[in-house]
Symmetry: C2
Subunit: 586 residues, 2 copies
Amino acid sequence: MYIEKIDSPKDLKDLSIEQLSVLADEVRAGVLNRVSNHGGHVGPNLGFTEATVALHYVFNAPEDKIVFDISHQSYPHKMLTGRKEGFLDVSKINSISGYSSPLESPEYDNFEIGHTSTSVALASGLIKGRDILGGTENVIAVIGDGSLSGGEAFEGLDTVGELGTNAIIIVNDNEMSIAENHGGLYGHLRELRESKGLCANNYFKTLGFDYTYLEEGNDVGKLIEAFQKVKDIDHPIVVHIHTEKGHGYAPAVADKESWHWNFPFNLEDGSPKKQRGSGEYIPQMLGKWLFEETKRDPKLVCISAGVPAILGFNEEIRTKMGKQHIDVGIAEEEAVALASGMAKRGAHPVFTTHATFMQRTYDQLCQDLAVNGNPAVINVTGSSIYGMNDFTHICFFDIPMISHIPNLVYLAPTTYEELIAMESWAIRQEQYSVAIRVPEYGAHHAKEPVDTDYSDLNKFKVAHRGNTVAVVAAGDFYQKGEAVVKALQTDGIDATLINPRYLSGIDEALLEDLKKDHQLVATIEDGSLDGGFGERIARFYGPSDVKVLCFGVKKQLYDRYDVEEVLRENHLTDEQIVEDIKRIIK
Amino acid sequence: MYIEKIDSPKDLKDLSIEQLSVLADEVRAGVLNRVSNHGGHVGPNLGFTEATVALHYVFNAPEDKIVFDISHQSYPHKMLTGRKEGFLDVSKINSISGYSSPLESPEYDNFEIGHTSTSVALASGLIKGRDILGGTENVIAVIGDGSLSGGEAFEGLDTVGELGTNAIIIVNDNEMSIAENHGGLYGHLRELRESKGLCANNYFKTLGFDYTYLEEGNDVGKLIEAFQKVKDIDHPIVVHIHTEKGHGYAPAVADKESWHWNFPFNLEDGSPKKQRGSGEYIPQMLGKWLFEETKRDPKLVCISAGVPAILGFNEEIRTKMGKQHIDVGIAEEEAVALASGMAKRGAHPVFTTHATFMQRTYDQLCQDLAVNGNPAVINVTGSSIYGMNDFTHICFFDIPMISHIPNLVYLAPTTYEELIAMESWAIRQEQYSVAIRVPEYGAHHAKEPVDTDYSDLNKFKVAHRGNTVAVVAAGDFYQKGEAVVKALQTDGIDATLINPRYLSGIDEALLEDLKKDHQLVATIEDGSLDGGFGERIARFYGPSDVKVLCFGVKKQLYDRYDVEEVLRENHLTDEQIVEDIKRIIK
């Protein structure tokens, strides 16, 4: 085993090409060991194993800087830069994250990375910084073909193409995004592959780059040759390598989309280690409903931005939806502008993506959509403390982001039925731009019929009118509000329970009315306290005698946290909320 | 005069090419009449006059849909679509806005537009909507060469290039952005122009477009011919036309950058109608300081995103700064990622742009910058009720946008000296990602020495310790706080005055201490109440007996408002604030 002796890239330098090829296989086995036991990104890492070995053989990290895009392909790099135990030793998997992270390896990882299309832009800074400080190191940005669809990748390339100094862009072309690629550029990449990079028309050259192509992107020897040719180059160059997603593991090659990321599986045949939970999961239920709705409403078009799986839109369903589904690639800005334009033209567009990726669309939500008031529907998924918990994938800062945008309605359904009612209304109405926070935590069902019309904005729903204390609990933490009110009842407090439904405004008449017989209003939200909906209520009652207690989480960075711990630290368990309330009204 | 008879594009249809050329000159005169009297975008409109006449001659708006990019070139379109009085009649200029606006013309303007690089993306929605609904109209997106540097333009092109149906993109290439163009793409556009579009390498073709080039972009007859060839085309095509920015007005041709937008001027020679105010304006003073600082600090690099004029960085200063200034084109996402990368490498990057354009960088501020904690400096300009007041250019929603991003420090200096002190500290420190809200309103100077170290985060500054009432007044509304405290003094109330300095957090120890002898805390900010810094203070005091009054403006869309009126409506005059405070503590 060569891998056992590799503690840093320096340990690769004396190996022969043959030995490096064996090492690549060992690295592949390490990747498979990790993902089969722990889950994680499979295909992108397997396809970039040889290239990573070659990169670390040719270049001298950490002096030379390698920047990964989205870092779905950084596992082999981690194995070669002192973190192999996270791959070879099952008991140590959790010590290593699934993404590029300077917190984990200040020496070898240059950035915390988890969003697509950033590598070239971030590398442009390393390049400009190097040039200003008189450095001489190579700066290498790795970017997948899928990530090229993002606007930031274009902006980065356009800038680097003009810098005129050493810049090496490795385009890792595995003919796939997470799902298939979308965009006119992909026909062109095929043309480049088919002509072995020789066709006259060349995207990268139009942006100012020198260019070279390597067909054998999984051949360590050929890769080394290609990288040696560009090492210490004095101008920007794109090295376009053709790799195979999932290379070396048959199941991952056979079904590249399913194996982009996978749950733990049996190595022999790729079968899942555990049967996936058959429980209800609202985003997938929404996907099913939307699919059925496309049959009923010919104007309805579901928009994805590279991650159709969020709604369970697999290849079969996408094919069935035909023209009523459009995937724009990893291009969230385009997705929102597209939705706005479609709504303007009279179609019924629904764009869905995770809150962390929706961050890309802040300006488009404001300008392209809300300023125009076009009646598109934006589904925001993953927004919960119970959602994805990787450093770069936190989704519970969506309320500060979205709820303060003028002329944008932000709804927070509390049950599946309320979600579908809001969705139906939002799709059909022609008055408002509407965003909907899809419940992520739990799969609750309405106990009573839900309203069908939400055009009377900011009208909160009173589920129970009590006195002294009012609990306003939003979205998928509404049931927490129910539990709190129930617990208070046993303490003899007949608390009011309110489902606010709207995150983008307050029901002033109702809040005013509560002043009559309430001492305290408690707000509960599954997200950030700072900029959250609770603060708006605190402001409303600021000049009055009514006290306000806001429950939510602290503004800070979060990484692979324990949910229960975060809840406790933020006084978000049912018991803590009850105690805090009782302390105020004692 | 033909223009007198043009009330809609239908009135053009019977004119001959010669008559249309005369009409174009009349339109040009109308544009000049407006901008010379009122100020506005000069060069872009003059250069697109002939193309607009040709577009409306060949295509049938409003059935055919024309989408303008940023709409700096939409004046001629307005003149031909029923709004000529805003150009010909000086008394009616204010009835017409400077941007594309369905509120103004629901028939002929498809979107409210004021940010760059959106036209193709918005048009993609009109195209997809048309195709879903079975329409047959032409969809035409106009985009300038400068706007091509924005990621959203790329994403839009990449999507449209694949739609496979009628889509006509007019690339209006005047060889200029607002200032000169930046990015590798621009060398390529030159190549296209020099080869008359015949070079094999072609950016637009790489994205899936058919392509045609017209050198004579200011020749009505040639333009009509070119547009007629693509009318009703069944696939996406780029019509690349070479125009002259400022065409037909010598001063605007001679100095294209200064004449992109101009204040009112004398038509004979282009001299300004009024001498520009010689008063101090802090963003320009900051620019001067930064320029001087580049001489003292060789690591300092000032980053612009297409609008170097914000800091007064004219061509002479940019040349003097040399490598210590970089303009990335209209590519704000890249600008933030570049800054993060440079800071990581040890340089001292400072990126400056208006708050409304900073919206483009929400995800980059979060992910590329703050998650990494790289010590770059982000200057946010224009953020004030007193700033730009066009519908799409409102800058006072920056506090909700920026202040809730985890791990990003947002500072609000109150005077020029405090700004420079914060700037100096932020540039030199290596601990935090720092954004600074550059004072837009007034040019105040510190009366006492300002602090030089801001690393003790969220430490508010108590200017005067009184009792009963505390006024926390942020940034360029600090002086309003001073006035309020002074007025309260005359009423016998010795109010505490606090400069919060930090918009991204609160000074809990100080706020706790105020509870001892204060009944009311009033917050004043030059921006949105919703998601503003006042709400965070309202939440802090929510469970206590201290009352809170937040002063700021209502969340809503704003357009060409009267500042004093907005202040009054929002109870933001000094007198109203004093009254409201007195009403509470009575």
